[in-house]
């Protein structure tokens, strides 16, 4: 048996022994997802058991080095683990912006001290992070952002406002784009890290069309951000005034995450499930489901290929934009079809049968997929410019 096959056997056995049956059910509610953080609580024992087993094994962040809380898996091993988890429908033990976004940026740009501290906290689910990028006047045109940090020697005093800050009201820390040079558009932004409990930080939840309010307006009123948190642990990532490089690098990972490239429910076929629910399918709806399934199954292969190529540096650096565009447009289509197959039942807004209006609320939530992390139109702009090399794009 090859090393990889041995690893697969071991992984299968480990999952069998450690992943409780409840954790092999599809995620239905927001509280099915464990986000970690100072104030986190587990929904049930199964969630706790699964999370703790993964932390001990380094499987909350399997591909990160062991010294930072990961399992140090090689790319082929990480793929095997992903495949085996998908095969039993295992839920991610821990979800967080730390894992998806800040972690990769720190691995790339962070100092040793920052990695030791922040990556371990993320891997163990101790600190929950939020992302402070967008501002009321700066969405797609993010680089125009205005939140300003005045240099006070050993710290900055930050003033300004962010918006659409997901889970800002639940987060412990924020990674935040702050302007530190007003004369320099691209080279005047610093990528700061600070505690949301700092004096002068306040948040105000915003309600989405789905009725939920997972994001906030975030205000900074004379917030003091230290330049250092101790030896070799600066309060910013990369260099001062060069935070845009970090921001863009992180966006690549965010887009990869939103794209659903790692398989699982977002790339699965749905026709058979819809038929089971609906009993009879209108012939034209059946046809659309069939076309959708073709696209979804094909996209799942693209996800696999993309991740394989990323691991060995073969993917075009702008490819996450393509993945995000295709994956989110697909997910919106998926929910449109699920609504149609569900008929009037899926219009119920708070009934028990629908788990409090899950179909409708989820459908509405997916509309944000092609907005958050960069809109579809912006993705197409980036593909035009960086991949197709079209003029003036």
């Amino acid at each position: 048996m090859s090393d990889l096959e041995t690893f697969r056997e071991e992984t299968r056995a480990w999952l069998e022994a450690n992943c409780p049956p409840e954790m092999r059910q599809p995620v239905r509610d927001e509280d099915d997802i464990y986000w970690g953080g100072r104030n986190a609580s587990f929904k049930n024992d199964a969630q706790k058991t699964w999370f703790e087993a993964c932390v001990a094994k380094g499987y909350t962040v399997p591909a990160w080095p062991k010294e930072y809380g990961g399992a140090g898996l090689t790319p082929p091993q990480a793929k095997v683990l992903r495949e085996e988890m998908n095969a039993i429908g295992a839920r991610p033990p821990l979800s967080s912006f730390g894992i998806w976004m800040l972690g990769p940026a720190l691995l790339h740009f962070g100092t040793e001290g920052q990695k030791q501290r922040f990556l371990n906290e993320i891997a163990r689910g101790e600190i929950r992070w939020c992302q402070g990028y967008s501002e009321p006047g700066s969405g797609s045109d993010l680089v125009s952002m205005q939140t300003f940090g005045e240099d006070k020697g050993d710290h900055w005093v930050v003033n300004g406002q962010k918006i659409w800050t997901s889970y800002a009201d639940h987060a412990d820390w924020i990674f935040c784009l702050v302007r530190t040079d007003k004369e320099n558009k691209y080279q005047g932004i610093t990528f700061m890290l600070f505690d949301m409990a700092s004096e002068g930080v306040s948040t105000k939840p915003i309600k989405l069309i789905s009725g939920n309010s997972p994001f906030c307006e975030t205000f900074f009123d004379d917030v003091s951000v230290p330049k250092s948190y101790g030896e070799d642990c600066p309060g910013f990532v990369g260099e001062i005034n060069r935070g845009w490089d970090v921001a863009k690098y992180l966006l690549g990972h965010e887009r990869e995450m939103i794209s659903g490239a790692d398989g699982g429910s977002r790339t699965a076929a749905i026709g058979a499930v819809m038929k089971r629910h609906a009993g009879e399918l209108d012939p034209l709806l059946r046809a659309e489901l069939a076309n959708f399934d073709v696209d979804a199954l094909a996209y799942a292969c693209m996800g696999e290929k993309f991740l394989d190529e990323v691991k060995v540096g073969k993917a075009h650096p702008a490819q996450p934009n393509m993945m995000k565009y295709a994956g989110t447009e697909l997910n919106k289509r998926r929910h449109e079809l699920m609504m149609s197959a569900g008929g009037s039942r899926s219009l119920e807004w708070d009934s028990e049968e629908t788990g409090g209006g899950k179909p409708a609320r989820n459908w509405l939530r997916t509309k944000a997929n092609s907005i958050e992390g960069g809109t579809s139109e912006v993705m197409l702009n980036v593909i035009s410019k960086r991949i197709l090399d079209l003029p003036g794009a």
């Binding site: 082929p76 793929k79 076929a269 026709g271 058979a272 819809m274 038929k275 399918l281 059946r286 046809a287 489901l289 069939a290 076309n291 399934d293 073709v294 696209d295 199954l297 094909a298 996209y299 292969c301 693209m302 696999e304 290929k305 993309f306 394989d308 190529e309 691991k311 060995v312 073969k314 393509m322 565009y325 295709a326 139109e377 993705m379 197409l380 702009n381 593909i383 035009s384 991949i387 197709l388 090399d389 079209l390 003029p391 003036g392 794009a393």
Partner: protein
């Protein structure tokens, strides 16, 4: 297995690419033969050259003198064929017939495979009976007669039927038209008495035949696989052909897309390069995304086929349907974004549109395969 080409495969891709660009180019092959009204629709010289590179026997086992490679490798050659619109019997002979013969007895393999590998022979496959691909129904009849069979009936759109030295024919030896069992595959030689070809030129300048069989006598040795159990080999060759034609379709899509994106960087209107207009940029970027996805699923389907996976059948249909859509989009956007010049015969983009149309139909179009995906998925 990672879902990209390994080093050997990347080398093969380079060899194939260079060869097709130099020898298989549109002016040298497609236009050349088309403008001479060639009855084969391809050049035998090029077929011999492909044999020298080993391409013809890519799916033939090493024991039978081939390279013993897989569908990923065949797909690599086909993608380059597609990009350059190189007309050749590769798909019918080296993929379809080679797959069928892989399941044949020693006698048949010894009779036909050397000619395939050397590039001296060309083979065709006769399955369809009518204008649409419906391999579930086989009416063409082969009745027992002495030690052999007598074949009667009609096959349509046999690609390269008239130039073929041997045709693999799917015929009914028992049961009724739509039965899964009772189908047998026969290797019918070129000179079989009672076989008649009515040749037609298709929109892409390839040649096909409506072929009739009037009590064609076949000896028992000409059976490929099991009598009445031909579905097994037939399904194999269909899967191989679907994945292969998907790979060629990916090449067609990429060829058309590259040409179009280049054009957007050259043509000026309103004092600007037309590639500066966002209305075109977004469509080009969307097209890129579709073509990438189509390519990924095609390579995946080939890998599954090579691994003998249960999932290969489903994914072959997914690939065929996805590629049909993506390549269809590539050629339609290609002609549109070229403006008036895209409508001219002199310009190559229209040739991509024609080849794509023929490939879409070949072994089942997007409707057929999307429907098949639904059926295989249980709805």
């Amino acid at each position: 297995m990672p879902l990209y080409h390994n080093e050997d495969q990347a080398m093969l891709a380079e060899t194939a690419s260079q060869f097709m660009v130099e020898e298989g180019a549109i002016n040298k092959q497609l236009r050349h033969w088309r403008d001479r009204d060639c009855k084969d629709g391809f050049g035998h010289g090029l077929w011999k050259q492909m044999a020298e590179l080993g391409f013809t026997g890519i799916l033939v086992s090493e024991d039978d003198g081939g390279l013993g490679m897989g569908h990923v490798e065949a797909g690599i050659v086909l993608e380059e064929i597609g990009r350059n619109l190189t007309p050749s019997p590769f798909l019918t002979s080296s993929v379809l017939a080679a797959t069928a013969l892989g399941g044949a007895n020693d006698e048949l393999r010894g009779r036909y495979l050397p000619g395939l590998v050397s590039g001296d022979s060309v083979f065709a496959v006769a399955i369809d009976e009518g204008a649409k691909h419906r391999p579930e129904r086989i009416a063409c009849k082969a009745e027992k007669s002495g030690n052999g069979f007598k074949l009667s009936g009609k096959k349509d759109f046999v690609v390269q039927g008239a130039s073929a030295d041997m045709i693999v024919v799917a015929a009914r030896t028992s049961g009724s038209d739509a039965d899964a069992d009772g189908v047998t595959l026969f290797a019918v030689p070129k000179d079989a008495a009672g076989m008649n070809h009515d040749a037609v030129r298709l929109v892409d300048s390839s040649m096909a035949t409506h072929t009739t069989f009037d009590n064609v006598e076949l000896d028992g040795d000409s059976v490929i696989g099991e009598v009445d159990g031909g579905r097994e080999v037939l399904n194999k060759l269909l899967m191989a052909g679907r994945v292969g034609s998907a790979a060629e379709g990916v090449g067609v899509a990429r060829g058309a897309m590259d040409m179009t994106v280049d054009y957007l960087k050259q043509r000026k209107q309103f004092g600007k390069l037309i590639g500066e207009f966002q209305a075109l940029q977004h469509r080009a970027a969307h097209l890129y995304s579709e073509v990438e996805i189509a390519r990924a699923v095609t390579i995946k389907a080939a890998q599954l086929l090579d691994a003998g996976s249960e999932n290969a059948d489903l994914m072959a249909s997914v690939a065929k349907a996805k590629v049909a859509r993506a390549a269809g989009l590539a050629v339609k956007e290609g002609v549109q974004m070229h403006g008036g010049i895209g409508m001219t015969d002199e310009y190559d983009i229209g040739l991509y549109m024609k080849r794509d149309r023929a490939l879409q139909e070949f072994l089942g179009d997007a409707y057929y395969h999307a429907n098949r995906v639904a059926e295989l998925s249980g709805y």
